[in-house]
């Protein structure tokens, strides 16, 4: 009993120490270094744009779990649901030559890509789904990125207690062939729990990068000054911006 309490006390001490160190600048620097190192390792080992694995139809999970926000309890969104998203628009703005406002009909009329990929949540679970939608690169090319653009920011209709969900990625991921704006899951319109009518698929990163309920995409030069400044709702709450680990 005595030995056990000594071990528990030691473990507690280590834990308390780590909780303190975790908030200091030096450790923050190490974390950032490790994030960059992981990203560089992934890009070096796989080449600049390795493709995420694509699966066969038989591998698809029987159900695709919804996570985070699984509905939006607001009259405007519920009206869109009732109308089958006929008037939903996606704005393309920021550092672009030609700002766009695309309806779902226009988005469905673009050349489409269908991919069966695995979704890995930061919590640890995985599900496999068949996604369909236009490549983000087509839409960005249509709008024409200005030279200063470095990141693409994704704006969403959902929020957590009034804090809007948003995400961002670099141009490497934005122009990756598997980065699509999905409006179908398993050949049917995207269910509300999975982000209807439009969600991002950014296949080489964890689930929180795959922004749902998309309302706008914005080309920017820096992530500073946008919401918490760290490039995403969860990033502003301590999660890594590079979600490939």
């Amino acid at each position: 009993m005595k030995r056990r309490s000594v071990i528990a006390a030691l473990a507690g001490l280590l834990t308390a120490g780590c909780s303190k160190i975790g908030r200091t600048g030096t450790f923050g620097g190490l974390v950032e270094g490790a994030e960059k190192l992981s990203r560089a390792a992934h890009r070096t080992l796989g080449g600049r744009r390795p493709m995420a694995r694509e699966y066969a139809p038989a591998d698809v999970s029987p159900f695709f779990r919804g996570n985070g926000n699984v509905d939006i309890d607001r009259p405007d969104y519920q009206a869109h649901v009732a109308a089958g998203f006929a008037d939903w628009t996606l704005e393309v703005r920021g550092l672009v030559e030609r700002p766009l406002s695309l309806t779902m009909e226009q988005i469905r009329a673009l050349p489409q890509r269908t991919q069966i990929t695995r979704h890995d949540c930061v919590e640890g679970w995985s599900a496999i789904g068949r996604w369909t939608g236009p490549q983000l690169s087509q839409i960005l090319d249509q709008a024409g990125l200005r030279e200063e653009a470095r990141f693409i920011v994704f704006r969403c209709a959902d929020d957590f207690r009034g804090n809007p969900y948003y995400e961002s990625c670099d141009l490497d991921d934005a122009f990756h062939p598997q980065t699509i704006l999905a409006h179908q899951l398993g050949g049917a319109p995207l269910p509300v729990r999975n982000g209807a009518p439009l969600r991002l698929r950014i296949e080489r990163q964890l689930g929180y990068k795959h922004a749902k309920y998309l309302t706008a995409i914005e080309a920017v030069a820096t992530l500073e000054g946008i919401e918490g400044g760290r490039g995403g709702y969860w990033e502003d709450r301590g999660y890594q911006w590079y979600a490939g680990v």
């Binding site: 528990a8 473990a11 507690g12 280590l14 834990t15 308390a16 780590c18 909780s19 975790g22 450790f27 190490l30 974390v31 270094g33 490790a34 994030e35 190192l37 992981s38 990203r39 390792a41 992934h42 890009r43 080992l45 796989g46 080449g47 390795p50 493709m51 995420a52 694995r53 699966y55 591998d59 999970s61 159900f63 779990r65 695995r118 890995d120 949540c121 930061v122 919590e123 640890g124 679970w125 995985s126 599900a127 496999i128 296949e203 080489r204 990163q205 964890l206 969860w234 709450r237 301590g238 999660y239 890594q240 590079y242 979600a243 490939g244 680990v245």
Partner: protein, 223 residues
């Protein structure tokens, strides 16, 4: 035979890394305490194991935070993997692996193994010759060449960025969720090894062995 400086440095860096990785790993486990086989899994009925929730005193940080635990885990994963690689190279070139860890065919004879097990049961741990006895060599070999690399490769297999670059990793383990399950099992196997390792040090010559792993010890003491 003294412990080489590289061995001693690695031993303590590795011990610290494993403690931080294990405790931050328990915090990460709390985020989704279910394990699956295959490539996917998310619901209770698909799980082969419902993991218990680990209390704050056993986790890093000492409260539930997936974001902070992942920061600790990824930083020390790099420390752990790079230091293991350097130690392996050093041990290969300074002869530690070949001389002290590698077993000889005669070590694997049934009566030799039985003799070693009996000696252990009598709490006699001093090897008759060389630095380590058979059970020590076998368990160090298992940890160095199976469990520690397994932790690294199953960890890498879980990363979606790494999976795009090296899809054969998760395929080798039977899918991402299988890799996650193996990661969890191997972590507990390492925890078990560490407890037995510490227990055996305490049962033999704790002060001397600890001093030797810090200062290297006297060259003639082992004879």
């Amino acid at each position: 035979m003294k412990h080489a400086l590289g061995t001693r440095l690695w031993h303590w860096i590795n011990a610290l890394s494993l403690i931080v990785l294990f405790m931050s790993g328990l915090n990460i486990s709390n985020a989704h305490p279910r394990l699956y086989w295959g490539d996917w899994g998310f619901a209770p009925e698909q799980a082969w194991l419902h993991v218990w929730r680990f209390p704050g005193w056993a986790t890093i940080p000492g409260y539930y935070s997936l974001a902070a635990a992942r920061d600790w885990h990824v930083v020390f994963a790099w420390v752990f993997a790079v230091s293991l690689l350097l130690f392996m190279l050093a041990a290969l070139f300074n002869g530690h692996l070949g001389r002290d860890i590698a077993t000889r065919p005669r070590d694997w004879r049934w009566d030799a193994i039985r003799e070693d097990v009996r000696a252990h049961l009598r709490f006699e741990f001093e090897p008759k010759q060389g630095k380590y006895n058979f059970l020590q060599k076998a368990s160090y070999g298992l940890v160095l060449f199976v469990l520690l690399p397994l932790m690294i490769f199953t960890g890498m297999a879980m990363s979606p960025g790494m999976d795009a670059a090296w899809p054969f990793l998760s395929e080798m383990f039977g899918g991402r969720q299988s890799a996650r399950s193996i990661h969890f099992l191997a972590a507990w196997a390492l925890c078990g090894f560490t407890l037995v390792h510490v227990l055996l040090v305490l049962l033999t010559h704790p002060a001397r062995l600890l001093r030797e792993m810090i200062t290297g010890g006297k060259a003639d003491e082992a004879t």
